[in-house]
Symmetry: C2
């Protein structure tokens, strides 16, 4: 049986409908003029828990049996996926456990705790995070949910682009690229629900492991990534690598300065809050004006979770 099919993607969307927001698609006349093409911003910053991660997390958990759900779910995450899984568990009335590094920002721990999840602290190293999670899984028999390298998660992620394509035909779609879960879902949705739509990944120059992995045909780890786009620092998994290799047209690299310029433009002109990992898609358009000139381009704004404490302290 095929791992992915039009029918499976369609079913994922049906299953998710009662649990997630169908987020709006926004446009900006002024940004279109500056970009020289027509842009369609798919606003996953308005998704529950503030990011697209809710789609994959919820779809994963909905795929579990009653018995599995009763034993709980667990992941290690210091970012949006931990929050999404915690909220998913809260909505479905089951227990989530999130392994977070000791040094994770308090604001992130608070968000996870506010959704009723249990937090287990690990040392900051990736090894410690994985060992701590493995130990907990062994003891509790909870189901481990990987943030992106998982068929059910990718199917869930595909629903954002399914919604976009139902409203607008676009020539191109750009999705942010970190572990590849969002880009994989985006590419599969374009493959099955559109004809002739090219899909691109946008990756930070300072975390270009996926670009090199696709170029060289083998997965590189993400070693000392250096980018403000904190959602895009992870490496590809086997599953996302395979999908991206087959279904994605190209990977566009963008540096942090251009990400921040694009982010500022979106905040100022569209009056919406997006995180750097979202703004990279617009930055990729400005970086490649010839590629997108005159075309209709969908941009997946992955989320809007930014730490605003510093800003508000400075103006109080």
């Amino acid at each position: 049986m095929e791992k992915y099919s039009k029918e499976k993607l369609r079913q994922a969307r049906e299953k998710l409908k009662p649990y997630i927001h169908e987020t709006p698609v926004l446009q900006s006349r002024l940004i279109n003029e500056q970009a020289g093409c027509e842009l369609f911003f798919k606003c996953e910053n308005f998704q529950k828990a503030g990011a697209f991660k809710m789609r994959g997390a919820m779809h994963k958990v909905l795929s579990l049996t009653k018995e599995e759900r009763a034993k709980g779910i667990a992941t290690h995450s210091s970012g949006n996926f931990g929050q999404a899984l915690a909220l998913t568990a809260q909505i479905l009335g089951i227990q989530a456990t999130i392994v977070m590094p000791k040094d994770a920002p308090q604001v992130k721990k608070d968000a996870v705790a506010a959704y009723g999840a249990i937090i287990i602290e690990s040392e900051p190293s990736p090894q410690s995070r994985e060992e701590t999670l493995a130990e907990f899984i062994k003891k509790s028999q909870a189901t481990e949910c990987h943030p992106y390298n998982d068929t059910q998660v990718i199917l869930g992620n595909s629903t954002a682009t399914q919604e976009l394509l139902e409203l607008h035909h676009v020539d191109d779609i750009i999705a942010p690229l970190g572990g590849g879960g969002l880009l994989s879902g985006t590419a599969l949705a374009a493959k099955y629900f559109s004809s002739n739509t090219q899909v691109y990944g946008a990756e930070p120059v300072g975390a270009d492991d996926a670009f090199r992995s696709i170029r060289d045909g083998k997965i590189y780890p993400s070693i000392k990534p250096n980018t403000i786009a904190d959602g895009l620092r992870t490496a590809l998994g086997t599953e996302t690598f395979a999908v991206i290799q087959k279904e994605v047209k190209d990977i566009l690299l963008v540096d942090d300065e251009d990400i921040l310029k694009a982010m500022k433009l979106i905040w100022e002109r569209m009056k919406i809050i997006v995180e750097p990992s979202s703004a990279i898609t617009l930055a990729a358009v400005f970086k490649n004006p010839e590629l997108f000139k005159g075309r209709k381009v969908g941009l997946i704004l992955s989320g809007g979770n930014v730490d605003l404490n510093g800003y508000f302290k400075s103006i109080l």
Copy 2:
């Protein structure tokens, strides 16, 4: 003939339709829980030029004759109304002239200039601004547009609340209160398009001239206002004073710290950018929990024009 009537408000809405955005009404489950009531955020931060001012400015200029329009329009403003009038003129193909104090932030001058308006600089004092404008009007015979103390502007402003009430019945509406133009339009729309909806103004403690004016039955000037809500530092005019005295239930005072807390909550949870003058409406709800408990409350978010340069410099 009555100055305001249901028919006149309805006509204002029809007239404006081709020129303005019908802005969305958003809700937040989490903020509702915190507030203990059901809130409906009317998002004028998504309006053209980033604020409700576009409605009043456009309606004013649409009420002018061809001959008047040919001579141009002018105002003095360092804020949102200047931008709105400049964009109005650009859309209608006429000339706008904006008197701005020498020391106005460059970002505001740039915004006005970007819409093709002519800027005349004055000294920072209110007297100099008025004299400079009067001199220009005399010379050019352009029509002076007052930012709020004007029937046509108030009729234009009423359309935001007309849109809100068409979608949702609310028990209360809170609008920010500076010069009173938005609050006047809000109160008139509630009077003619709803039954039994109470309208409140929200005013900063550090600029409480309108509160005192209504209490004592005479207009006080706004002397040395001290608030972060830069849109709410002006005094009432004769026209807005009369409407507010008759149609508004009460004026709620809020201090700057509470305004900023509410603003942070909106940014973080709703992922939208609103200015302090907008957030004051939510702050007024938190300040008066008993008054709004269990009710449906409309909040007019007046705009989203915030200077983000400092924030982006700090994270670059």
